[in-house]
C-alpha cells in the first residue's frame, strides 16, 4: 500500500515540476527587460510557495511519525506477542527458530547476525515487502508484524553481505489460527 502511494505521489510531484520547468523554459524566449517588478512579483509568489510547502509537508511529516515500527511493545499490533521467531543471519543463510506461524496474531522477530550486516526483509506471497529491519552483529533488533493472510512468505536479505547475498532466502509458512502447533 505504502509503495503504491509513494510511487503515485512521486509521479504527480515530478510531473508537476516538469510542467513548471517546461512552462518557464517555453516562455523564456521573449524578454521582459525590466527585471525588478518581475522579481518583486516572484518573491511574493515564493513566499506563498514556501507556506504552501510548509502546510502540505508539515502535517504529512508529523502524521507519519505517529506509527513508528521501532518500539515493538507499542506497535500497532499491540499486546504481548504469542509467537516469537529468533532469527540469526549468516553468510549466506537464515537460521529461524521456527518457520510456522498463524495469521491474525502478532509475531515478534528477534533478529541478530553471526558475522556481517544483513537485512531481514519479509515478503508476502505476492513478493511485496511488508516489513524489514537491519541485522547487525552485536545487536538484536526486534520487529513485530501481524500476517493478515495465510501463505508462504519469504525472508530476503536486504543488506549486501557478499557473493551469495542474493541467494540468502528463507521461508515462513503462515497458516490459519486453527492450524496452530
Amino acid at each position: 500500500m505504502s509503495q503504491q502511494v509513494a510511487w503515485q505521489l512521486s509521479l504527480v510531484l515530478m510531473t508537476l515540476l516538469a510542467c513548471v520547468f517546461a512552462y518557464v523554459g517555453g516562455t523564456a524566449g521573449t524578454r521582459e527587460e525590466d527585471y525588478t517588478p518581475l522579481q518583486k512579483r516572484a518573491y511574493r509568489v515564493r513566499a506563498w510557495l514556501f507556506w504552501i510547502l510548509v502546510l502540505l509537508f508539515g502535517p504529512v511529516m508529523v502524521y507519519t511519525l505517529l506509527d513508528l515500527p521501532y518500539d515493538a511493545a507499542t506497535s500497532r499490533s499491540g499486546g504481548a506477542p504469542a509467537q516469537i521467531i529468533e532469527a540469526v543471519g549468516y553468510q549466506w543463510r537464515w537460521e529461524l527458530s521456527r518457520d510456522h506461524v498463524v495469521a491474525g496474531e502478532p509475531v515478534e522477530f528477534r533478529v541478530s547476525s553471526a558475522d556481517v550486516n544483513h537485512g531481514f526483509g519479509i515478503y508476502d506471497p505476492d513478493m511485496r515487502l511488508v516489513a524489514q529491519t537491519q541485522v547487525m552483529p552485536g545487536y538484536t533488533n526486534k520487529v513485530r508484524h501481524t500476517f493478515d493472510r495465510e501463505g508462504t512468505y519469504k525472508v530476503l536479505c536486504m543488506e549486501y553481505c557478499g557473493i551469495a547475498h542474493h541467494n540468502m532466502m528463507a521461508e515462513i509458512k503462515v497458516g490459519r489460527p486453527e492450524e496452530r502447533r
Partner: protein
C-alpha cells in the same frame, strides 16, 4: 547585494588543471556508466557474468561514481571560486594525483584481488569475505579510498586558507553579517557562499571518513581491535552522505555563475539565499541518520531527526535554487544552447529527484522501501539528471567556440535523448522499487527481470547520449582554456 556577474564579459579560460579534472571525469564517468549497464544487463538475464563479476563491477561503479562526482564538482567549484580568492594550483593538481593513485589501488584491489564489499565497505564485511578476497585486497581498497580522501582534504584545506585570507573567517564567507544583521549589499557572491558551505562540511566529512577507514585498516591486521558495527555504520554514512551531497552543492555553482550570464540577470546573495545555505550547511550534516532508519538499535531521536530534516532539506532546493533558476530564466529572452539547456535541465533533475528521496526518508515508507531499487531510483535522478547534467552543461560552456556559436543537430538530438532516457532509466528503478525489487542483487527473481530489461534499454540510450556530450567536449578542448565571452546574448538586448 552581491551577485554573480550578469553580463557577457569574457570568462577566464579553464586552467590546465580544470581541463585535466574534466578529462579524467569524462573517462571515469563513461567507464562507470558502462559498468552500470553491464550490471543491469546481468539482472535482465541478457548476460551471464556471474555474481563474482557483478559484485566487483558494483563495487567499482559505486566507488567510481562517488569519487568522480566529487572530482567533477571540485573542478567546477575551483574554476569559479578562483575569480574571488587566490587558490593554489599545485594543491589542486596534487588532489588529482592523489585521486589517480587511489583509483589505481582500488582497481587493483577489485580487478586483481577480487574485492567486492561494495563502496559502502560496511564493517566487518571487508574483513569477512569467506575466502572471496584477501586481507591485502581489502587493505588496497580502503587504502585507496583513504588516499583519495587525503587529496580532497588537502584541497579543501587550501580552499579554507584562501577563503579566510580573503574574507577573514567562514562566518563572513557564508554571509552571516548580512544574514543576521543589516544587508549592506556586501555579502559574498553565491559561488563563495556555496564553496564555504562545501568546504566546512567536507572537511568534517573527510576527517570522519578517514577515521573509520583507518580504524578498519587497523582491524584488518589486528582483529582484536574491535569496532562497534553501529558506530562504524554511522561514521561511513555520515562521510558518504556529506561527500556525495557536497558534489551537488559544488556543481550547482555552474548554475549560479553561468545562467546569469545567459539571462543577463543577477543571482543575488540576498537574505533568503544566505539563510538557505546556512540551513543546508547544518542539514547536510544532521540528516544522515535517514540512511539508518531501519537500524532499530539507533537512538530513536536520531532517526526521528533524520525523518524531519529529510522534509526540511527539500525546502532550500525547491524554494531557493530551483525557484531561483526559474526566476532568472522566466521571460529572460535567453537563447537556449546546450550549456544553458543542460544547466536548466539539471535543476529540474535535482528538484525532481528530491521528491522520491523525501518520500523514502519517511520512516513508515522506508519500512517497506529501504534497500529496494527505489533508492537508486531517487539518487540517480538527482545525481545523473541533476549533478552530472550540471557537469555536462559546464563542459559545453567551456567548449564554446564563440559567443554566438550554435549547436549541431546531433547535440540537440543527444540532449533530448539524454533527458528522456535518463527519466526512463530512473523511473524504471523507481517502479521496480515500488514493486519491492531488492537492490544489489546479482540475479533477479523471474518476476523482476522485465523491469531490469526495460532499465537496460534506457541505460544504453543514456550512454549513447553521454557519448555525444563527452566526445564533443574532448573535441573542443582547445577552446576550453581561452579567455573569451561564452554566454550567448539574450534576445532583444543591447549589443
Amino acid at each position: 547585494m552581491a551577485s554573480s556577474i550578469p553580463t557577457p564579459t569574457p570568462d577566464r579560460g579553464a586552467q590546465a588543471g580544470v581541463v585535466a579534472y574534466l578529462v579524467t571525469t569524462a573517462a571515469v564517468l563513461l567507464l562507470m556508466m558502462v559498468f552500470g549497464l553491464l550490471m543491469r544487463l546481468e539482472q535482465a538475464e541478457v548476460t551471464a557474468m556471474g555474481p563474482g563479476w557483478f559484485y566487483e563491477l558494483m563495487t567499482l561503479h559505486g566507488a567510481g561514481m562517488v569519487g568522480i562526482a566529487g572530482l567533477a564538482g571540485a573542478a567546477i567549484m575551483w574554476h569559479f571560486l578562483r575569480q574571488y580568492v587566490d587558490l593554489s594550483e599545485k594543491i589542486f593538481l596534487a588532489n588529482l594525483a592523489f585521486f589517480l593513485v587511489g583509483v589505481v589501488m582500488i582497481l587493483g584491489s577489485v580487478l586483481l584481488g577480487h574485492f567486492h564489499a561494495a563502496w559502502t565497505f560496511l564493517y566487518p564485511l571487508p574483513a569477512k569475505s569467506m575466502g572471496a578476497w584477501s586481507q591485502e585486497a581489502a587493505a588496497a581498497f580502503m587504502g585507496g579510498l583513504l588516499v583519495i580522501g587525503v587529496g580532497f582534504l588537502l584541497l579543501y584545506l587550501d580552499i579554507a586558507r584562501a577563503v579566510i585570507a580573503r574574507y577573514g573567517n567562514f562566518a563572513r564567507a557564508l554571509g552571516w553579517p548580512q544574514l543576521f544583521g543589516r544587508d549592506d549589499g556586501n555579502a559574498p557572491p553565491p559561488a563563495v557562499v556555496a564553496s564555504a558551505m562545501v568546504t566546512t562540511v567536507n572537511i568534517i566529512g573527510l576527517v570522519v571518513g578517514a577515521s573509520i577507514l583507518t580504524m578498519m585498516l587497523v582491524n584488518l591486521y589486528v582483529p582484536g581491535f574491535d569496532i562497534d558495527p553501529l558506530l562504524a555504520k554511522n561514521l561511513i554514512y555520515f562521510f558518504g552522505h556529506v561527500f556525495i551531497n557536497a558534489s551537488i552543492y559544488m556543481a550547482v555553482i555552474a548554475v549560479y555563475e553561468i545562467l546569469p550570464r545567459y539571462t543577463q540577470r543577477p543571482w543575488k546573495s540576498n537574505k533568503v539565499f544566505l539563510a538557505s545555505w546556512t540551513a543546508s550547511t547544518l542539514m547536510v550534516m544532521f540528516i544522515y541518520p535517514h540512511h539508518l532508519l531501519m537500524d532499530f538499535a539507533m537512538p530513536k531521536w536520531m532517526l526521528i531527526m533524520g525523518h524531519i530534516i529529510g522534509y526540511l532539506n527539500g525546502i532550500p532546493i525547491l524554494v531557493v535554487t530551483a525557484y531561483g533558476t526559474l526566476m532568472i530564466v522566466f521571460r529572460s529572452g535567453i537563447r537556449w544552447d546546450m550549456a544553458s539547456g543542460l544547466l536548466f535541465l539539471s535543476l529540474f533533475g535535482w528538484a525532481a529527484g528530491a521528491m522520491p528521496a523525501i518520500i523514502d526518508g519517511t520512516i513508515t515508507v522506508n519500512y517497506v522501501m529501504h534497500n529496494t531499487l527505489w533508492v537508486p531510483g531517487h539518487f540517480h535522478t538527482y545525481l545523473l539528471l541533476g549533478m552530472v547534467t550540471m557537469v555536462f552543461g559546464f563542459m559545453y560552456y567551456l567548449g564554446k567556440q564563440s559567443l554566438e556559436a550554435g549547436d549541431g543537430m546531433l547535440d540537440r538530438a543527444a540532449f533530448w535523448l539524454f533527458a528522456v532516457a535518463t527519466l526512463g532509466f530512473t523511473l524504471s528503478f523507481l517502479y521496480s522499487g515500488q514493486a519491492s525489487v531488492a537492490r544489489r542483487y546479482a540475479a533477479h527473481l523471474p518476476e523482476w527481470v522485465p523491469y531490469a530489461r526495460l532499465g537496460s534499454v534506457f541505460a544504453a540510450l543514456v550512454i549513447v547520449a553521454v557519448l555525444v556530450f563527452l566526445l564533443r567536449f574532448l573535441g573542443r578542448l582547445r577552446f576550453a582554456m581561452r579567455r573569451a565571452p561564452r554566454a550567448t546574448s539574450v534576445r532583444g538586448a543591447a549589443a
